[in-house]
């Protein structure tokens, strides 16, 4: 299990008595000060965790059993995205590029904490 302790904004939200469904203020875009220097090994755990990234629910990717077939295969990512930031934007909120995108907005809706997010980005970028 990855360390998925409650992140700070979620705690703040709970303290405010907000619903757990909306853990904190929604950030439409990646915060400017977020450094994309995560840990790919941890990101792999998050990506495969059913309650977290769950990338494999829709995407085939190396090292994961029983992938879904809704999204494209995650392979050669560095040839498909011009930069890590572009990939990160896509994972943060895929509906910016394509309003019809089915993929959940992992950053915007705080499905992942910021730490989990940068770790996942690092892992996916390495595929």
């Amino acid at each position: 299990m990855p360390t998925t302790a409650l992140n700070r904004s979620r705690l703040a939200a709970l303290a405010l008595g907000l619903s757990a469904m909306v853990p904190g203020p929604i950030l439409a875009a990646i915060p400017d000060d977020m450094a994309l220097d995560g840990d790919a090994a941890v990101g792999k755990l998050v990506a495969n965790d059913r309650a977290k990234g769950n990338c494999v629910a829709c995407h085939a990717m190396a090292g994961s059993e029983g992938p879904g077939s809704i999204g494209p295969v995650l392979i050669a990512m560095q040839t498909r995205f011009p930069s890590k930031k572009e990939l990160a934007n896509q994972i943060w909120d895929a509906t910016v590029k394509n309003p019809e995108a089915v993929m959940p907005p992992f950053g915007k809706h705080q499905i992942l904490s910021q730490k989990e997010f940068v770790d996942v980005v690092e892992f996916i970028w390495s595929l």
Binding site: M21, P67, G68, S69, I70, E100, V102, P104
Partner: protein
Amino acid sequence: MIVNKNTLILAVAGLACLLAGPLAAETPKEEQEAFQTYFKKRFPNVPEDDFKNGAYAIDPVGRENWEAIEEFPPYENSISNGETMWNKPFANGKGYADCFPDGPAIQGKYPYWDKARGLVVTLPLALNECRAANKEEPLKYQKGPIADLVAYIAFESRGQITKVEIPEDDPRALEAYQKGKQFYFARRGQLNFSCAQCHLGNSGTKLRTEILSPALGHTTHWPVYRSEWGEMGTLHRRFAGCNEQVRAKAFKPQGEEYRNLEYFLTYMNNGLELNGPGARK
């Protein structure tokens, strides 16, 4: 089994516009046709009368398991409990048959638009209204005795054809349908999924190892013994479960939202044979 990707994207976009678009020029009838044609084109090898079997119409391996399960149906006890309930008089000596003189094979009449009251009446709602009229406590809507009673009625109604009507002489009926449709196409929850994104646009693809069932066939077989539940549950229990899966707050079973959703979705399934109760993974 699935048509090529470009055609598919066009078809989905077209249908989404047709069904969800603000241009309400299309009639429910035309939308129903577009909906059904979409699935027939998407799954050209599925015989028309097989869509009622849900994911098992498109998943040969799952179907084998399902057919084995159907040899000794897990919903059998539920049917016989329901039959006992149907035949047991209320405290006042009356029974369900007094409320539903055509019963028990009445599932094909539901859901319907009640013009006098201006709302969609579903079978579980009507059953509880019968109980209330006879001074009996209402049944809870998601599982337990209501599922048994509906299972018995569904079993007796097998072979009836889905034929929901949207009466043209009451604009509120169309409005209820539109609300159900809007619900169906609206994204919700932290995961931001609409019903349609999985069960229309991505039906037949895999979520992990599970095949997403086509929406054509979703209303024929309730209540269901779901292995994941280990018991029977109603259609509205499933709606609530789906909403929770996308991390949205579920609505109240038999509240207006789910009744309208049932109205829309069952209308989309018009023409399919009723084959409840069912067994699903």
